[in-house]
């Protein structure tokens, strides 16, 4: 299960070719003075959805086929806290018939080793039946071009 074990080991920035910066906010910290665990998942979602919108061209409102989250995971290695700007990054783990597995990671400001790492799985469904369906060829081609 080497694939599933990937997130046990904090990776470096070089292992995640697509990234966006995310300015943390005061309210992201919880009463323990660090980013609440839920916020890590929020930032993971942010990098995946930015890729999906801006690089894969998905239009959630109008497309007949669009992705929804079916699984996510986070392993927390180091604390992050407001007011640092964190980097959310991803790489492709697997492109299936209808699903895409992203390996995701968060990096603290100026840090090379991941503060958190995990997975985020999108499944493409058809708007009418809400059932899993093939990833549209144009989206698949973009995924393969970006990460091939």
């Amino acid at each position: 299960m080497a694939e599933a074990d990937v997130e046990h080991v904090p990776g470096t920035r070089a292992a995640y070719p697509y990234s966006v910066d995310f300015a943390t906010r005061w309210g992201d910290n919880d009463m323990l003075g660090h980013l609440n665990n839920v916020v890590y998942h929020r930032v993971f979602e942010d990098v995946v959805t930015r890729l999906t919108k801006f690089d894969l061209g998905v239009d959630w409102v109008n497309d007949a086929v669009y992705p929804v989250a079916i699984e996510s995971q986070c392993r927390f290695h180091h604390e992050l806290s407001w007011p640092e700007t964190v980097t959310a990054a991803l790489r492709i783990g697997r492109i299936g018939r209808s699903s895409v597995l992203y390996h995701v990671a968060l990096f603290g400001e100026g840090k090379e080793t991941a503060a958190a790492s995990g997975r985020f799985v999108h499944v493409y469904i058809d708007r009418a039946g809400k059932r899993p369906t093939d990833i549209p060829p144009a989206i698949r081609a973009k995924l393969e071009t970006l990460f091939g």
Binding site: N37, H41, R42, W60, V68, E71, S72, R75
Partner: protein, 150 residues
């Protein structure tokens, strides 16, 4: 594998909020983790004597995971089912099922790990006896298909 209410030993009501729904009109995936966070910590406060503001030993989360099976949406009322799958000296693994009110099969199934640490040093430490006693009540044996009293 489909999980039902009888797979869980304790339930907490969750009222969805307007802002939990995203562009799809259903509860956003990340919000489920906030339901988990809320249900787990409320159990520790109510049953284990945890005081989030002052307890010397606090729980921090090294890992969380969720599978999303079917959509729920505001204004649905939900129940978070809890069980404990592993109880160590300083750590606990909770398993959580999120159920739509009146629905027997889980809309989402999650796990969430707490490591208990010293509030000042953040070093792992033995969990307080009151918390351990509360968590033991939720402990299930892996593979036990009849965990609750149903």
């Amino acid at each position: 594998m489909t999980e039902t209410r009888r797979d869980y030993l304790h339930f907490r009501p969750i009222q969805t909020r307007w802002n939990d729904n995203d562009l799809y009109g259903h509860v956003n995936n990340v919000v489920y983790y906030s339901y988990v966070d809320t249900a787990v910590n409320l159990y520790l406060v109510d049953e284990g004597g945890l005081d989030p503001q002052s307890s010397e030993v606090i729980g921090i989360c090294p890992e969380s995971h969720c599978n999303f099976h079917k959509a729920v949406a505001y204004p649905d009322r939900l129940d978070a089912g809890l069980r404990v799958a592993h109880l160590g000296n300083s750590s606990v693994r909770y398993e959580i099922g999120i159920f739509l009110e009146g629905d027997d099969t889980a809309a989402a199934t999650a796990y969430f790990v707490h490591v208990f640490v010293d509030r000042a040093t953040h070093r792992p430490t033995q969990m307080p006896a009151t918390i351990r006693a509360a968590l033991e009540k939720l402990l299930v044996v892996p593979g036990d298909g009849d965990k609750a009293d149903g």
